[in-house]
C-alpha cells in the first residue's frame, strides 16, 4: 500500500471524523439525560436532581462546543478532498448535510441558549420544554447524518443524469429501510455511551467518598438505564447485521472473515485474518453456526469473499476486528449493568469497591463501541464511497498531490492534539471537581459560546 492522495485523504477523513464522533455521541446522550433529570426534578421537587443537572450541563456545554468545532472541519472535507464525490452526489448529500448544519444552528440559536443561560429568566415549564427541544434537536442532527450515510451505504431514490447522481424521490432517500434500523442503532449507542459515563462518574466519586448523594444517584440511574437498553440495542445490532447480509454481502463476508464460500458455514469467533493467503491464522471456529446466524438454518450455503471479484472486495482486518471490539464492548456493558442490578437488589451496589472500580474503568466502553461500529460500517463499505455507484478511488479530488494531503493531515493532527488536550483536560477538571458549585459569570455570553460557560466554570472552581 503506497501513500497516495486517496489513502491519505481516507486517513485524514478517518482521523477528523473519529475525533468528531466522540462528541456528538456524548451530547446526544447527555441532552436526553439532562431532560430526564429536569423532568424528574419537576415531578419530585428533589433539589438533588438540580445539582446533578447543573453539573452535567457544564460537561454538555463543553462537549457541544468541541463537537461544533470539529464538525465544521468535517463538512469541508467533502469539497477539499472528495470533490468528485461532492460534484457527482452533491445534489443529494449537499441538502442532507446542509439540513444537519441548519438543524444544529437552529438548536444553538434558540433553545440551547435558554438551557445554557436562561434558567432564571423563563418559567419552569418552558425551561423543561427547552430541554426537550435541545434533546430533540441533537437527535434530529443525527437523523440527517445517518440519512446521508445510510444513502451512501445503500443508495435509494436517486436517478443518474449525465453522470451525476441526482435526487429522484426524497422520501426514499431519507427514510429507506436501512435508515430505519441504523438511526435507532446510533441513537441507542449514544444513549448507552452517556449512560456508562454517568455511571462511571458516580462510581468514581463513591470511590473517593465525594458527593456521595449525587454519586449514588448517577450510578443507579446510569447502570439502570444501560441494563434496560442494552438488550434493545442488541436487537437493533442484529437487524443491522441482516441489512448488511442482504445489501452488502461482501462486507458481511469480511466481518465474518469468510474467505471461501462454505456449506455449511462455520462461525469464526476470533482469528488473525491473513489477507495475503486468504486464510485465518489461529482461528477459533464453531462449525455450522455461521449458516445459522446468517440464514437461520444449520446447513445453508454462505457466500465468502471468493464470490466477489477482487476489485469489489473490502479489506478484512479492520471490519473483522472492529466488529468484534464493538460486540465485546456491548458484552462489557451487559456484564457491568446486569451485575450492578444484581448488587442493587442485594443492597450492596454502593459498597462493593471492586465493582465500583470495574464500573469506573468501563467509562470508555461506549465511545470505543461507537468508533468500532463506524469503522466496521465505513471500511466494510470499501472499495465504494457510494455503494455500487462510485468507487472511493474515483471520488478523490483530481488535482490533489500526495504532499498536499500529507501537509493537511499533519496540520490537523498537530492542531487537534493541542486543542483536544486542552478540551479533554477541562472536561476532566469539571468531572473531577464534581457537582460542588455553580459559579459562572454568564454576562457577555451567548449560546454560540458554549465553551465559555464551561471554561468559566473551571476557572472559578477552587484549584
Amino acid at each position: 500500500m503506497e501513500l497516495d492522495p486517496v489513502l491519505l485523504s481516507r486517513l485524514q477523513f478517518a482521523f477528523v471524523i473519529s475525533f468528531h464522533i466522540i462528541f456528538p455521541a456524548f451530547t446526544i446522550g447527555l441532552a436526553a439525560w439532562l431532560t430526564t433529570l429536569e423532568g424528574v426534578r419537576l415531578l419530585t421537587g428533589n433539589h438533588l436532581y438540580r445539582r446533578i443537572f447543573d453539573f452535567w450541563l457544564k460537561i454538555f456545554a463543553l462537549s457541544f462546543g468541541m463537537g461544533v468545532v470539529s464538525g465544521i472541519v468535517m463538512a469541508f472535507q467533502f469539497g477539499t478532498n472528495w470533490s468528485v464525490l461532492a460534484e457527482r452526489t452533491g445534489s443529494i448529500q449537499g441538502p442532507l448535510l446542509g439540513y444537519e448544519a441548519f438543524t444544529a444552528f437552529l438548536l444553538e440559536a434558540t433553545f440551547f441558549g435558554v438551557v445554557l443561560l436562561g434558567r432564571d429568566s423563563v418559567p419552569a415549564w418552558f425551561y423543561f420544554l427547552s430541554c426537550c427541544m435541545v434533546s430533540l434537536g441533537t437527535m434530529l442532527s443525527s437523523f440527517w447524518i445517518l440519512a446521508n450515510n445510510s444513502w451512501m451505504q445503500v443508495p435509494l431514490g436517486h436517478i443518474i443524469v449525465d453522470g451525476r447522481i441526482v435526487p429522484g424521490d426524497w422520501w426514499a432517500i431519507i427514510t429507506g429501510p436501512i435508515m430505519r434500523i441504523r438511526w435507532p442503532h446510533m441513537l441507542l449507542a449514544a444513549f448507552l455511551t452517556t449512560g456508562m459515563c454517568v455511571a462511571a462518574t458516580g462510581a468514581w466519586y463513591l470511590l473517593r467518598g465525594k458527593d456521595v448523594q449525587e454519586a449514588g444517584a448517577m450510578l443507579r440511574w446510569g447502570l439502570g438505564f444501560v441494563a434496560v437498553v442494552i438488550p434493545v440495542q442488541m436487537v437493533f445490532g442484529h437487524l443491522t447485521g441482516i441489512y448488511v447480509l442482504n445489501y452488502q454481502p461482501a462486507k458481511f463476508a469480511a466481518i465474518e472473515a469468510r474467505w471461501k464460500t462454505q456449506q455449511p458455514a462455520s462461525e469464526v469467533l476470533i482469528a488473525i485474518p491473513d489477507p495475503r493467503h486468504e486464510r485465518n491464522l489461529f482461528a477459533l471456529e464453531i462449525p455450522r453456526l455461521g449458516s445459522f446466524i446468517a440464514s437461520g438454518n444449520w446447513d445453508a450455503r454462505e457466500g465468502g469473499l471468493d464470490a466477489f471479484p477482487p476489485e469489489d472486495r473490502p479489506p478484512v482486518i479492520i471490519p473483522f476486528f472492529a466488529f468484534r471490539v464493538m460486540v465485546g464492548m456491548g458484552l462489557i456493558m451487559v456484564a457491568v449493568s446486569w451485575f450492578g442490578a444484581f448488587l442493587r437488589w442485594r443492597g450492596t451496589l454502593e459498597s462493593t469497591r471492586w465493582f465500583l472500580w470495574a464500573t469506573f474503568l468501563s467509562f470508555p466502553s461506549g465511545f470505543i463501541a461507537v468508533l468500532a461500529g463506524w469503522f466496521t460500517a465505513e471500511v466494510g463499505r470499501q472499495p465504494w464511497v457510494v455503494y455500487g455507484l462510485l468507487r472511493t478511488k474515483d471520488a478523490v479530488t483530481p488535482s490533489l498531490k500526495t504532499g498536499d494531503v500529507l501537509l493537511s493531515l499533519a496540520c490537523y493532527v498537530v492542531v487537534y492534539s493541542i486543542i483536544y488536550a486542552f478540551g479533554l483536560y477541562y472536561i476532566y477538571r469539571l468531572l473531577r471537581d464534581g457537582p460542588a458549585q455553580d459559579v459562572s459569570d454568564r454576562t457577555k455570553m451567548t449560546p454560540a459560546r458554549p465553551l465559555a460557560v464551561a471554561v468559566q466554570a473551571t476557572k472559578e472552581a477552587p484549584q
Partner: protein, 349 residues
C-alpha cells in the same frame, strides 16, 4: 445539460449565498479586524477592552460562513467542489486559523496568556489574508475541466492574490477600528482606534490602486471586459470612493458612527463591483450560475425547510443578539447582558 438562464430557485439561492457572504465579511470582518489590531498594542487594558467589545458576537458571526458553505454544497455542488479543491491550502489555513482563534479567545483567560494572545492575532491575520487571497485568485480565473478543478495546488499564489490578501487584512483592520470607535465605552481605546483610521484608510486606498494595476498587468481578460456590458456597474466603485471620503471625514470630525458605517458601505460597494464583473459566472470564468445549479428537486427540497424557515431564524437571531448588546459597551455589556434567553444578567455567587 443545463439551461442558459438560471431558474428562479437558483437565483434565490444565489441571492442567499450573496447576502450570507456579505454578512460574513462585514460581521466576522470587524471581529477579525479587532483581532488584527489586538496585535498592534501591548497595553493589557486596551487589549481586554478590545476582547470585551467583540465577545458576545464573534462566534455567531462565523455562523454565516457555515451558511455560505452549507448553501453552496447543497445548491451549487459543482462550485463547492471546484472552489474547495482550488483553495485546498487556503481553506486549510482558514479552518485552522478560525479554530485556533476561537479556542484562544476562550482559553486566554485561563493560562498561558502570551501564547493564546499570539494565537489570537495570528489566527485573525491568517484568516483575513487567505480570504483576500482567494478573492485575488478568483479575479485571475479558475480553470475547470468536466466540473473539476484542473489547476495546481499553488496556482492561487500570485502577485494579485497576495496584494488582495494584504488588502483584506488592512480592510478588516479598518472595519475593526471603526467598530472600536463605535462601540467602546473606553475613551482611551476610542482615541487609539480613531488615530489609526486615517492611516489604515490610506493604506486601503493604496492597496486598491496597486491591486487594480496588478490586475491589468496580470490578466487582461477580466480588466478588458471590465463593466463593458454593464456600464451602470461603475456606480459601485463610485460609491466606494465616496465612502472612503466619509471615513476620513468621520475620523477627523469625531463622528463616531461614521468610520464603521462608511467602511461597511465600502465593503458592500466592493462586493457588488466584483459581483457585477463576475456575473453570470460563479467560478470565473468557467462555471456559470445556471450550469452549477443543483436540480430543481434539490433546490426546492432545500427551499421549503432551510430557505423559508431556518434562514429567517438565523437572521432574526443575529438581529436579537446585536439588539441586546446595542449601544456602547458598558462595563462589558453587563447592563444589557445576554441575548433573548439570558435577557437578565443572572449572576450566581
Amino acid at each position: 445539460m443545463s439551461a442558459v438562464e438560471p431558474s428562479e430557485l437558483a437565483l434565490f439561492w444565489v441571492a442567499v449565498i450573496g447576502v450570507a457572504i456579505l454578512a460574513y465579511v462585514i460581521l466576522d470582518g470587524f471581529d477579525l479586524g479587532v483581532g488584527i489590531l489586538f496585535g498592534a498594542t501591548n497595553d493589557a487594558r486596551l487589549r481586554s477592552e478590545m476582547i470585551a467589545s467583540i465577545s458576545p458576537f464573534w462566534d455567531g458571526n462565523e455562523t454565516w460562513l457555515i451558511v455560505v458553505g452549507a448553501s453552496l454544497f447543497a445548491a451549487f455542488p459543482v462550485v463547492y467542489a471546484v472552489f474547495l479543491a482550488a483553495f485546498y491550502i487556503p481553506v486549510l489555513l482558514l479552518l485552522l486559523a478560525l479554530i485556533f482563534r476561537g479556542i484562544a479567545f476562550e482559553f486566554r483567560a485561563r493560562a498561558a496568556r502570551g501564547l493564546w494572545d499570539r494565537g489570537f492575532v495570528l489566527g485573525s491575520v491568517v484568516a483575513a489574508f487567505v480570504q483576500g487571497a482567494a478573492v485575488g485568485a478568483m479575479i485571475r480565473g479558475i480553470p475547470v475541466v468536466n466540473g473539476q478543478y484542473s489547476g495546481g495546488t499553488f496556482d492561487w499564489v500570485a502577485a494579485l492574490s497576495i496584494v488582495c490578501g494584504i488588502g483584506l487584512v488592512l480592510g478588516y483592520a479598518l472595519l475593526g477600528a471603526g467598530w472600536l470607535v463605535l462601540k467602546s465605552e473606553d475613551a482611551q481605546l476610542r482615541d487609539w482606534a480613531r488615530d489609526r483610521i486615517p492611516l489604515l484608510a490610506t493604506a486601503v486606498v493604496g492597496i486598491l490602486v496597486v491591486a487594480t494595476v496588478t490586475a491589468f498587468v496580470d490578466r487582461a481578460r477580466m480588466t478588458g471586459s471590465l463593466f463593458m456590458h454593464r456600464p451602470w456597474g461603475f456606480v459601485f466603485p463610485l460609491i466606494g470612493l465616496i465612502a472612503i471620503v466619509g471615513i476620513f471625514v468621520g475620523a477627523r470630525r469625531r463622528l463616531d458612527s461614521w468610520p464603521f458605517a462608511m467602511t461597511v458601505v465600502l465593503f458592500v460597494a466592493a462586493f457588488l463591483s466584483l459581483a457585477t464583473m463576475f456575473w453570470p459566472y460563479m467560478i470565473p470564468y468557467s462555471v456559470t450560475v445556471a450550469s452549477a445549479a443543483a436540480p430543481q428537486a434539490s433546490l426546492s427540497f432545500l427551499f421549503w425547510g432551510a430557505g423559508l424557515f431556518v434562514l429567517p431564524v438565523i437572521g432574526l437571531y443575529t438581529f436579537v443578539v446585536y439588539w441586546m448588546f446595542r449601544g456602547r459597551q458598558r462595563a462589558g455589556y453587563a447592563a444589557t447582558s445576554g441575548p433573548a434567553s439570558a435577557a437578565k444578567g443572572e449572576r450566581k455567587v
